[in-house]
């Protein structure tokens, strides 16, 4: 086990947040069993007050998840010289079986939390809490993810041994590797580029029609999710390579380093924002039904769709910049 300040910070923070999430979930479930919007009883008034507690807890959790994602990667980056063979976060995360799983779960948890906040926001716009049941049921999933994230993170850090020999980005993200990451790196560049830009254009096209006509939001949600995944594959396959200008270096982490002026942060953050609000757009659309939401949903749909589109545009700009403005050409 390693004991460094970052690990202590991450683990204790995650434990605290998990405790809060469970407390909020417990409160939410109690609200559901006694909920009666028609009543003006003292109990009902108290339950309505508690909805504020839950919203507050999870808006802080959302912020926490984002920070912990960043600090987690930072820490993996920083620890690389403790492991034989590690040159960046890719190697540290590979030092045991939990590293990458923890990272993926963290990202998913953040996105679910974001979508939950969007559902909650939608519900708050109506006079009669139309979504109280689905949204608090979704909290069960969210809380489980938060707990899972905490467990995996702790298992990862507890399981670290400085004497292990790990393999780093050069191997994990190389065409020869048989793993999922390896296959992302060995994707034929031209084809991946085509698929990536096609997906991006399609998403933007559908997005603009959602904004203008209000139709196709559900489709947009799906496309946004798919494009996020395709974009991640594209980062490994060629976007990162254009930043490194080294035809065989496919690492998705090195772009987070100072040497590349931290360009990875705006790149990933814009993608996360776009993906989360994009899926949120689809989810908001699927909440159509309650009469009290009829007026609100078109407004929210448009707002989240605009945010998501902005996110994808920023991502596309950052991703395309080195392709357009450097002499480096990647042939596969």
């Amino acid at each position: 086990m390693l004991l460094n300040p970052a690990i202590i910070a991450l683990n204790s923070g995650s434990l605290l947040v998990t405790a809060f999430a469970f407390y909020a979930l417990y409160t939410a479930l109690r609200i559901l069993t006694h909920w009666n919007i028609q009543s003006g009883s003292e109990l009902q008034l108290l339950l309505e007050k508690k909805t504020y507690l839950i919203s507050t807890v999870f808006s802080y959790v959302l912020g926490f998840e984002l920070f912990s994602l960043v600090l987690f990667i930072f820490t993996a980056e920083h620890m690389h010289d403790l492991f034989v063979g590690a040159m960046c976060a890719a190697g540290s995360l590979n030092a045991n079986d939990y590293g990458y799983v923890a990272l993926v779960v963290k990202i998913i948890t953040f996105m679910i939390c974001g979508v939950w906040m969007i559902v909650n926001h939608t519900d708050n716009q109506a006079h009669d809490y139309p979504l109280i049941r689905p949204k608090y049921k979704l909290l069960i999933l969210l809380t489980v993810m938060i707990a899972l994230d905490t467990i995996l993170q702790i298992k990862y850090f507890m399981g670290l041994r400085t004497d292990v020999i790990t393999s780093c980005c050069g191997i994990i993200f190389s065409g020869e590797s048989q793993s999922l990451t390896g296959s992302a790196a060995s994707l034929p560049t031209t084809a991946t580029m085509l698929v990536f830009y096609a997906a991006l254009l399609l998403t933007l096209r559908v997005g603009f029609s959602v904004v203008i006509t209000g139709r196709g939001a559900a489709l947009y949600g799906l496309l946004a999710g798919a494009t996020t995944i395709i974009s991640l594959a594209a980062v490994i396959s060629f976007i990162s390579v254009y930043y490194y200008q080294l035809p065989t270096h496919h690492c998705p982490f090195c772009i987070l380093q100072k040497d590349y002026s931290y360009i990875g942060y705006p790149l990933y953050l814009s993608l996360l924002l776009a993906g989360t609000t994009g899926m949120g757009t689809g989810v908001v659309e699927s909440l159509k039904g309650p009469k009290s939401l009829a007026k609100v949903i078109p407004i929210l749909r448009k707002r989240f769709c605009l945010i998501s589109l902005a996110g994808f545009l920023i991502f596309a700009l950052i991703a395309s910049y080195p392709i357009l403005f450097t002499d480096f050409v990647l042939n596969s």
Binding site: L2, N4, P5, A9, G13, F20, L53, T75, D81, T162
Partner: protein
């Protein structure tokens, strides 16, 4: 287009609202100066302590890595009875025969105890010492601690009791102060005289390797050919140092756990035990039309103001403590070296990573702990205000 403008307008209203809340928060913090000041002081103090630990270990780690980076790829020591012993220079030829080794050099270094100042100095023969035999180059700490010189010269007792007089001619720069501070560089002849290392022997051997990746293979070959030696790889040393400093930082933070916990209890108590005055104020605000989320927003800003000021205050004072006053408060506790370095200075090295850790250790728990108490006052009934 019109809807877009409307959206923009609603965003502006949102911003304007935040400004109102922030304004009000600042004025109400100011109104309760005394109370908030004590919170701020304690909060900053905790941040200061944690920041100092983190900056310090980080700086030491960085320093060590920089020094080691310039060192040889591999060092070969000889062990006798499990302990480090002098190595015959004849081993050099044997190691040179191994494929992939580009050069092997003997290293001569050791310690000299100076009774007058009761300190240990590192004595060493650099690769090309071009000065006359009776002169030495010293680190910045040597002349400072040695005591009075006689005619500007150092009197040294050799291993056989003979007195040797050496003239310090050159003081090494302050840049790499931490390691070079206690160094005395001299010629090989003088070194052998002082230390008693016989000709034909060296302290250890430094090995340079053509291709870094082969270092592990070469190391096994050396132990096979020369069973009484122990090769040490540079990356192993860096790894050990890195984890040592990381671990030290973590360990100290665990030790500080009690302090930090006490602070959080204090903060929690603060947040729960609002004064009657403050509760009444929130009651009035709710009565005149603020809603729960407005009060929560105001309290959010309050948390931001307090946390940001405490964080900045703590971090800046810690920065001054570590890099300007050379960690006066816990030099001895953390450094684990001799007392030789009264004014070594660390080169400032702060990166976003350390700030993120500190933020996580202080602001995150503080914020989480104040959620429930804040909520409790925020949901107070607006009609309360009619019953005062």
């Amino acid at each position: 287009m019109i809807t877009l403008l409307k959206n923009l307008l609603s965003e502006m209203i949102w911003l304007e609202r935040q400004r109102f809340f922030l304004d009000f928060t600042l004025s109400s913090l100011w109104r309760r100066k005394g109370r908030n000041l004590s919170l701020l002081v304690v909060y900053s103090l905790v941040t200061f302590l944690l920041s100092s630990v983190i900056f310090f270990t980080h700086a030491l780690r960085k320093e060590a890595v920089i020094i080691l980076k310039d060192g040889p790829e591999m060092i070969v020591q000889r062990t006798v009875g499990g302990r480090h012993s002098l190595i015959p220079v004849s081993y050099i030829e044997k190691i040179k025969l191994i494929r992939g080794v580009s050069s092997v050099n003997p290293r001569l270094w050791g310690y000299y105890f100076h009774p007058a100042s009761r300190t240990n100095y590192t004595i060493m023969v650099p690769e090309n010492f071009s000065q006359p035999d009776d002169t030495v180059e010293t680190g910045a700490g040597v002349l400072r601690t040695w005591g009075p010189l006689t005619d500007g010269k150092l009197y040294i007792r050799a291993h056989d009791g003979e007195a040797i007089v050496l003239k310090p001619i050159n003081t090494m720069g302050e840049g790499t102060d931490l390691v070079s501070s206690d160094l005395i560089l001299m010629s090989e002849t003088i070194f052998r005289k002082i230390s008693g290392v016989p000709a034909g022997y060296a302290t250890d051997l430094s090995v340079t390797i053509r291709n870094q990746r082969e270092s592990a293979t070469i190391s096994t070959k050396i132990t096979r050919d020369l069973p009484d030696t122990r090769p040490i790889l540079k990356e192993d040393i860096i790894r050990t140092y890195s984890s040592l400093f990381d671990w030290r930082g973590g360990y100290v933070i665990v030790l500080l756990c009690g302090t930090v916990l006490a602070f959080f209890i204090f903060a929690w108590d603060r947040a729960t035990g609002l004064s009657a005055e403050e509760k009444k104020e929130i009651g009035i605000l709710k009565g005149i039309g603020w809603d729960t989320s407005d009060v929560l927003m105001m309290k959010f800003w309050e948390g931001v103001v307090i946390s940001v000021s405490a964080f900045l205050l703590g971090v800046i004072t810690a920065y001054i403590h570590i890099y300007v006053t050379s960690a006066t408060l816990f030099q001895h506790a953390l450094k684990g070296w001799s007392t030789l370095y009264p004014n070594f200075s660390l080169s400032p090295a702060i990166d976003p990573y350390q700030l993120a850790i500190l933020f996580f250790l202080t602001v995150v728990p503080y914020t989480l702990l104040t959620i429930v108490p804040t909520w409790t006052v925020a949901v107070s009934d607006p009609d309360q205000v009619m019953r005062h």
